[in-house]
Every structure is written in C-alpha cells, then in structure tokens.
Symmetry: C2
Subunit: 135 residues, 2 copies
Amino acid sequence: MIGRLNHVALAVPDLAAASAFYRDTMGGRVSEAQALPVHGVTVAFVDLPNTRVELMEPLGEGSPVAAFLAKNQAGGMHHICYEVPDIYAARAQLVASGMRILGDGEPKPGAHGNPVLFLHPKDGFGTLIELEEVR
Amino acid sequence: MIGRLNHVALAVPDLAAASAFYRDTMGGRVSEAQALPVHGVTVAFVDLPNTRVELMEPLGEGSPVAAFLAKNQAGGMHHICYEVPDIYAARAQLVASGMRILGDGEPKPGAHGNPVLFLHPKDGFGTLIELEEVR
C-alpha cells in the first residue's frame, strides 16, 4: 500500500527563523513561505534530493499546529506523510484493520491539492501518519 | 550541506507489533529486527522507494530511547537523519554557526557504520537532527 515518503512535517514557532536555519546553517534549498489559511498553517519546504521536509508555523485562530506548539514550545516533529496510489482503497484497508481515521473519515484536499487523510496517532504507535493519494 | 533524507526514526514500545503494523496494515516492506546493543536499541527498517523509516525499541539499560518512551508511552517521532558528504566539514560549519553537538562533539559510528553526530534539539527547532556521512 504505502509508497514514497512524501514529506516529514516539522512544527516550528518561527517559520522565518527555521527557514533561515535550514537555508543558511544546514545548506538546504528552502522554498518561499506559503500561507495556507484553509489548513491553518504557513509552510515552507526544504527540498532534498529524495523527499521534502515541510516547516509549518500556525496561521490564524484554531490552527491544528497551535496546540502542538503549546506542548512543544521549541517546535518538534509533527507528522509523516506516505504516498498511496488510491486513497479510498487505502482507507478501506485501514478501517478493515481497525484503524481510526481522524475527523469525519472522509479524504480532504491536502496542502498539495491531492486527497489526504490522517490516522489516529494512537493507531500509528504515537506517530501522526498522513496518507496522500499520488497517482 | 545537507543531501538526502537518510531516514526518519520512530520510537516504538513494541517493535514486533510496530513491524507487523507497517507490514500487514500499511503494506510496507519491513526488514528483520536487528539488535544494536552498542546503540541501546533494536531496530527494523521500513524500506520505502525513496528512503527508510527506522522503527526503534529500547534495548538494555540506559537506552537513549527509554527516556523518550517514558514521556511518550505510545511511541513517537524521535529524530530525522540527513546525509552530508563530509561529517567534519559539516561539524565545523555548524559549530561556527553556534550549533551545539550532543555528547563530546566527536562523530561516532552510527547504526550503519558511517560516522554520525546529533545536534542539540533546541538548536534544531525542537527536532533532534542526526547527520550521517555518506560519501
């Protein structure tokens, strides 16, 4: 079922500072910051040769990242995203195995426009797992 | 400086159960468990088309993963490992930027035999960053 690692998402309290760290200190290639109001985050991507690291800063009221940063004030590793070829087939297989899908269980357009869903972190051994359909 | 994402490491309280989850529920290719007493962990790798996810369970007294699991009993995202072409050049650049290297600051042989070092998580925006020399 799972294919490529699409990205690893790191929550950071200060996106400009984290982008500067990854660009200037770590020597990575970092994209411009992009506000995603629907998702409640502003993001920038560190483009690595084989995958991407998503730096996420909370945006607006009720950002899903704000609660995480309240508990982890310096920032931290937020989720990991695996690609699947068919999000509905993936969901069916997961639900049949007793996994819980977050929210109403329906795939939603993710940050890249592709449908995504999140597993309950307790079902992923404490790791928040995102699945993104990439055909 | 940083190149490929070498691996993402997830701490898990039960490696056999986590391996079964990634193999049977997630449909991934999971390696046999491998005890690394020097590193205080037993590991298995989920081999993805573009990178690897390392599942780590504590092994023996004083495992570096035990304290993490005491705080995160279900498990969680432990560190992210980037490849660098020259670990000493990377260290010099990091130290010049004021970054703190964990331990005595000397690169050590990592789980794959290559020299590695870890940055202080506070310097990596709350994320524990491993650098591994891959020439």
